[in-house]
Amino acid sequence: MLNNIWAFMILTGIVWAAFHGNIAAVTQGLLDAAADAVSICITMLGVVAMWTGVLKIGERSGLIDRLAGRMEPILRFLFPELPADHPARRLIAVNMIANILGLGWAATPAGLQAMKELRQLEEERNSASSPGIASREMCTFLIINISSLQLIPVNMIAYRGQYGSAEPAAIVGPAIAATAASTLAAVVFCKMMNRRSGRSGRPD
């Protein structure tokens, strides 16, 4: 899927540019994009290391376990097949809490580690099947993650203020409602898919 989307982006871009006389712009665009990726990574390096450092303190002091405990009913509902004391539970909880608070930079490292744990779990479950197929837990986790969990859209409030809004924070209430709508759709969809497909790992 991603292979096709990526190929589509690159090929359409270059062919389109060839027909519209934009080929020089594409040369520049490709190189600029690669350079942008480097500068994003350098920014990320600092911010992510800062958050994973702070989160490690929270992990070692037992604070994260406490918070994750409070998320437990939600996790049990969303991931009924995830073993009770699996390390992925805590990572998923951290990712969700950070997303709800709008700390996207703190959410990503925990989310990536959660994916690693989920893949290991899937390999243990069916060692014979080919790797590289998303498990039900992975699908659910990502769909919920992408449904957007952030309660207060801090950046958007700032932008609205910059552009002269009389009430920049007026969107907070409705934004929570819209986020709830998208997350509800995600949860219903995941629950339906889980019911339909049998055990995880099997093709749909």
């Binding site: 990526w6 690159i10 359409t12 871009g13 270059i14 389109w16 519209h20 712009a25 594409v26 665009g29 490709l30 994009a33 990726a37 390096l45 992510v48 290391a49 800062m50 450092g53 702070v54 490690k56 303190i57 992990e59 070692r60 604070l63 608070l101 490292p109 990536l112 580690q113 994916m115 790797p131 992975m138 699908c139 769909i143 992408i146 449904s147 957007s148 952030q150 207060i152 950046n155 958007m156 409030i157 932008y159 609205r160 552009y163 809004s165 920049p168 924070a169 007026a170 969107i171 934004a175 409602a177 819209a178 986020t179 709508a181 998208s182 759709a185 995600a186 969809f189 898919m193 749909d204």
Partner: protein, 174 residues
């Protein structure tokens, strides 16, 4: 409103204060823990780097060639022909790939119509209640070498559509 803005300002410092304070109360060697975690985080960023280069180059090709502009123009024309608020669909489509580019389009709407107009409110809500579907999926799945993503994309698009519909509906009621 004032409380919310205050909260936005204090959210990050308070979170850090809470976590580090708790660590000190539990008599943890907080700085050692921090350094260890930071090391892990640096490793994560390095492992994501190739994916990021790939993705940004893809979006870069679409953007610099003019495909993205042509797409948003065409979509905008279809939308206005159908009597729907035309500048919103491009925001929604671009947000699937790039948060930065979508924010740019939303700021254009703020400039043209004002952030408190119905279009401005709808754009604000849409960006607040959706995520960059393709970006998030590639970073997460490619980091663990998963190629078959099964029903993740349909689910993510459905959630995004629900968020957009709710945003347009709510903006009309504000």
């Amino acid at each position: 409103m004032r409380l919310i803005l205050w909260l936005s300002d204090f959210l990050i410092p308070l979170t850090v204060l809470y976590i580090v304070g708790f660590g000190v109360l539990m008599r943890r060697p907080v700085y050692d823990d921090f350094v260890e975690g930071a090391k892990e985080g640096a490793g994560t960023v390095f492992s994501v780097f190739p994916t990021l280069v790939g993705l940004m180059t893809g979006v870069g090709a679409l953007r610099s060639s003019g495909v993205l502009d042509a797409l948003t123009d065409t979509l905008g024309q279809w939308m206005s022909a159908a009597g729907l608020p035309s500048p919103l669909l491009p925001v929604a489509v671009v947000k699937l790939f790039s948060s930065g580019a979508a924010t740019g389009l939303a700021l254009d709407i703020f400039k043209t119509y004002g952030p408190d107009s119905q279009l401005g409110l709808a754009a604000s809500l849409m960006l607040s209640s959706t995520e960059t579907v393709f970006y998030t999926m590639s970073i997460y799945f490619l980091s663990v070498n998963v190629k078959k993503t099964r029903y993740t994309l349909p689910g993510a698009l459905l959630a995004t559509a629900a968020g957009i519909a709710a945003s347009i509906f709510l903006a009309g009621r504000l």
